[in-house]
Amino acid sequence: MLLAVLLPFIIAIFIPFLSKWKDKFHTGFAATAVPAIIFIYFVQFLGTGFEPVTQEYTWVPSLDMNLVFHLDGLSLLFVLLISGIGSLVAFYSIYYLHKSEQLGHFYVYFLLFMGSMLGVVLSDNVFVLYTFWEFTSLSSFLLIGFWNYKEASRYGALKSMLITVFGGLSLLGGLVFLSVITNTTSIQEMLGQQELILNHEFFPLILGFILLGAFTKSAQFPFHIWLPDAMEAPTPVSAYLHSATMVKAGIFLVARFSPMLSSSEWFFLIVSTVGIVTLCWGSYMAVRQTDLKAILAFSTISQLGMIMAMLGFGTEVAIFAAVFHILNHATFKGSLFMVAGIVDHETGTRDIRKLGGLMTFLPITATLALFGTFSMAGVPLPFLNGFYSKEFFFDASLHLEAAAGGFSGVLQTLLPYLAVFGSIFTFVYSMYFFFGTFRGQAQINELPKKPHEAPIGMLISPIILAAGVIIIGLFPDLINKPFIEHAASAVGGTVIAEKIYFWHGIIPPFIMSIAVLVFGTILYLTRTKWAPVYKAVPGKLSLNKFYDGLVDRTERYSAVITNGYMNGSLGRYVRLIIAAIIIVTFSVMAITDGFSISYDNLSEVTIPELLIAALMIISAVGASVSNKRMAAILSLGVVGYGLAMLFVIYRAPDLALTQFIIETVTVALFMLVFRHLPDLKTRKEPVTAEITNLVIAGGFGLLLIMTAISAHSNKLFDSISSYFVDNAYKLGGGDNIVNVILVDFRGMDTLFEIAVLGIAAMAIFSLIRLGREKEE
């Protein structure tokens, strides 16, 4: 199985080389072979005696992240869908994409997507699952933006990326919770610890995070808005990603985790409600659309909502119907997308208002569309698979396990009505799709191209899918035992024996189907009269407007905030930094009760020191307030000399010496430079700014005084200096202890201090030289 998952990735490496000869050999043939091989490999697992298979390959054993692949009924269903429809779509794209397109790019993205999708459905390790999950988001982003010169493509790609990655990250959160709680990374082992998870205090979070990931990926309300915009992708991509595979990843996730989560009542409430709302909203919105692919996009949304709702019901019939409908939807929706692509390809437009009467020009395409749309609408005919799963859906909505009451009870009563309501609109848009495109008055002159039947290569794939619709419709039991049953039992946890009949007698589900048929026909025939209603709702409440506003405002307010404090003024940054230091240190001091003062061990106060201190304070003030450069620099010099005097008093001869020399040199330097600087100006700052500066400066001074007093009052250990005193002569061979420390005990400091001086000297030299060369 590892090879099956990796094969698309490996072939993707060679695609760019193959695409160099695309004039002679369409790159799509190579891309078609890959899923076909995988399909043939997995088809062998089919059969009534199917048993789950697990294979393990080490990847990061220390983190318990290994490539563990688990093939059970559910995975097999998805694997066959991905590889089967993948090969049909790849074949279709050979005729759809012209050789002048960037075929290399397209098929690389396509194979990357297919490989990661296979990884998602086969992974048993949650982190490997997540890795492939994000890979599908990424490759789908690339595919949607394939025609990246189009503004709408870029917009759609970004939108789908933002929404699905948002969901992907929340999924990661849920998976991390799960693996921490259960102490395993294997999904199969987690399913065995259902009790532990259900009773854990973090269960609501796990449920919420995982469902959020599933809902965003599967375009459930209100996260469905990315799917219609993803229709900017080439049609093979829409057919593959946005009908059969990627949008079902969320369904797969819910199905995979439902044995663990579905015992919770919240699972029923959330998943069913979201699913049924998505079904109704998607089918209603589809009726309003005028673009063929937009109709199909909203149709996909509503069908996914239906599957999601059935997974939420959690009864045996519902799970069976959900799994069955996954297969059915993939067949008819895939073929319908290809039909839309053919219509677009042969007439040059997808606008249903311009189309009409194409039956005579595109007879084969029209026939294919007929099967697809009628199956999608659930018309009760014995050769349409859509009808079977729809009737199961009605049946399931009627036979829910008795809920405790409260909101669940209300929901339970409402569900059958909502199901019928959504299905009526499904019927309307399906009829509109077929009759609007292929019947009625042809407007040949308005079309960009003169329509004629598509090449046979383009028709093969939709023919195979339509044949699937009919075969499943005619002989539903053919796939039931060896295939659907295993998938359903993998979701439900038990073996579900369900026999698929066309005719059950006149029972409630059948009456519901007939009601859909009748009301749908009436609504379709009076369609034009309803136009004002379709226009008015949702009107301004559109979710796209909300999304656009959200993105726009996020950018705008981030800019406002950033520009608010990052205004480029160095003074402001210094103020912020120092204010932060003051606030943090004072808070810590206050919280920990850190300030203490002790009068022990202080030396006595003497007059000379006090005088020098007073002198230094006066000169510091002078240096700060003087408006004359000369006065300010000389005042600064007085501070330095005062410090040197203090060094003398405090018995630091070397320090005093150095300080005198350095201060002299510094003052000299100031003198050299100040001629070139403009004179100090009288400050023209507003009083408030001046007060702020004084408060910040005063606060910082006070802060240091308090810190120093506390530190001095809490000496915990004796100084280590006695070692230096004792050993200066013995080990260092010198009398001057300070100098021995500088060059002997701690010579490394001195080495790098010399380096600092050297670097400063070089920098000064080059700064001056650089200026001169420019002036010359």
Partner: protein
């Protein structure tokens, strides 16, 4: 005495920060110089003041002032001298090239 010195050092810091918040380059450099003076005094005070003779080994003296802070300050003085002189030349170059020594006007360009 330590308390007095601590207050003096704190005052030097306050004056330095006040200068740092001004707009003219020369004032900012004066601010950094004041801050380094404050820091040196700080380190000295945090050792013990006046407890013994200068740290030069002499016959018959047992008690010396702490030599370690002095070594640290000596290193620091030299480094702050290097930085101050670099800053001065930088200020000189900056004001000459840009025609202003006002920090509020030296904000980079709008094209970044």
């Amino acid at each position: 005495m330590e308390l007095t010195m601590v207050i003096l050092a704190g005052f030097l810091f306050a004056a330095g920060v006040y200068n740092l918040l001004q707009k003219q380059l020369l004032r900012i450099i004066i601010g950094t110089a004041l801050i380094s003076h404050g820091a040196h005094l700080f380190i000295l005070t945090m050792g013990e003041l006046k407890h013994g003779a200068p740290p030069i080994l002499t016959e018959g003296i047992e008690q010396y002032t702490d030599p370690l802070p002095q070594a640290l300050i000596l290193t620091s003085i030299v480094i702050s001298f290097g930085v101050t002189s670099l800053l001065l030349v930088l200020a000189y170059r900056a004001s000459k090239l840009n025609g202003t020594d006002n920090m509020e006007q030296l904000r980079g360009n709008d094209y970044e």
